[in-house]
């Protein structure tokens, strides 16, 4: 059975790295879910059943966290920054100002149901988000050779913070 403190990478049997083989992740997930699925423990003891259910929950959490690049990056960051103190809100004031203005414009677009403006904003935000995500692989790679590099960690933190603000706007557009 799986121990509680195992991390998502270990659980899936993948190296602790940002770049992962997505096909391999899918395969591993399929195989492990079959192995752990509570349905296969129908005739087992109650204890075994509970363990199997718990393992399935952990497996699903690991899979959903690792398959998507941003959540994978956030998760890996949380491991890499254990015991490291980073500036959490390292964002320039004009960035916040811009995010605030974008939220206000979005208010107006949503109120007037301005579909073309909403589409345009959605597209722009996605472009920015993708641009940010394109930095992840190389920055995490750098950390593999020098894990104590606070500057790189700080850079990653900044990208992840920025992405969170963009994501909030995107979520608002797409929840309508």
């Amino acid at each position: 059975m799986i121990s509680d403190d195992i991390d998502h990478f270990e659980l899936m049997g993948l190296p602790q790295s940002f770049e992962i083989d997505s096909e391999k992740l899918e395969d591993l997930y399929q195989n492990l879910s079959l192995e752990m699925h509570p349905d296969f423990y129908g005739t087992s003891t109650k204890e075994k059943k509970i363990l199997s259910e718990k393992s399935s929950v952990m497996l699903n959490a690991a899979y959903s966290t690792l398959r998507e690049p941003v959540s994978r990056a956030r998760y890996l960051m949380s491991i890499l920054t254990r015991g490291v103190s980073l500036k959490k809100d390292d964002l320039p004031e004009d960035f916040l100002q811009e995010m605030f203005s974008l939220q206000e414009s979005l208010d107006e677009m949503l109120e007037s149901c301005d579909q073309s403006a909403l589409c345009k904003m959605n597209e722009d935000l996605l472009k920015r988000s993708n641009l940010i995500q394109s930095n992840f692989a190389s920055l995490f790679k750098k950390l593999e050779t020098s894990p104590e590099n606070t500057e790189t960690l700080q850079q990653l933190q900044k990208h992840l913070n920025t992405e969170r603000y963009l994501r909030r706007l995107l979520d608002r557009i797409n929840s309508k």
Binding site: K88, L91, E93, L96, M99, Q103, R167, R168
Partner: protein, 128 residues
């Protein structure tokens, strides 16, 4: 997670939503953000320069119910206070008033930061 009645009250009926002209004399604007959730909060004050009393306050917050309630409450509390009194408002008082759960404490911190940012902006502008 369930919101407390007070949070719901402020969320449904937020006090002092809006904005003051930030170029107007005797105003101060604080804009703060919480990167862990992507919230952004603007809190503005208008001060009577003769006695340093806050005569008006407005806010606009893009965030969760707790962030909106925290900033709404913050504007209620600062109105009528001197800037020194307002400066001493602690996030823990907001937590207590709104019964915020531990995962939402950062919303109250954001509101406290916004008050302080607005006051320091006012001070900077009134000196300059």
């Amino acid at each position: 997670m369930a919101y407390s009645d007070k949070v719901i009250d402020h969320y449904k009926d937020p006090r002092n939503v809006g904005s003051l002209d930030k170029n107007e004399k005797n105003t101060g604007t604080g804009l703060v953000g919480a990167p862990e959730c992507g919230d952004v909060m603007k809190l503005q004050i208008q001060v009577n320069p003769d006695n340093n009393q806050i005569v008006d306050a407005k806010f606009k917050t893009f965030g969760c119910g707790s962030a909106i309630a925290s900033s709404s409450l913050a504007t209620e509390w600062v109105k009528g206070k001197s800037i020194d009194e307002a400066m001493s408002i602690k996030n823990t008082e907001i937590v207590e008033e709104l019964s915020l759960p531990p995962v939402k404490i950062h919303c109250s911190v954001l509101a406290e930061d916004a008050i302080k940012a607005a006051i320091s902006d006012y001070k900077k502008r009134s000196e300059g």
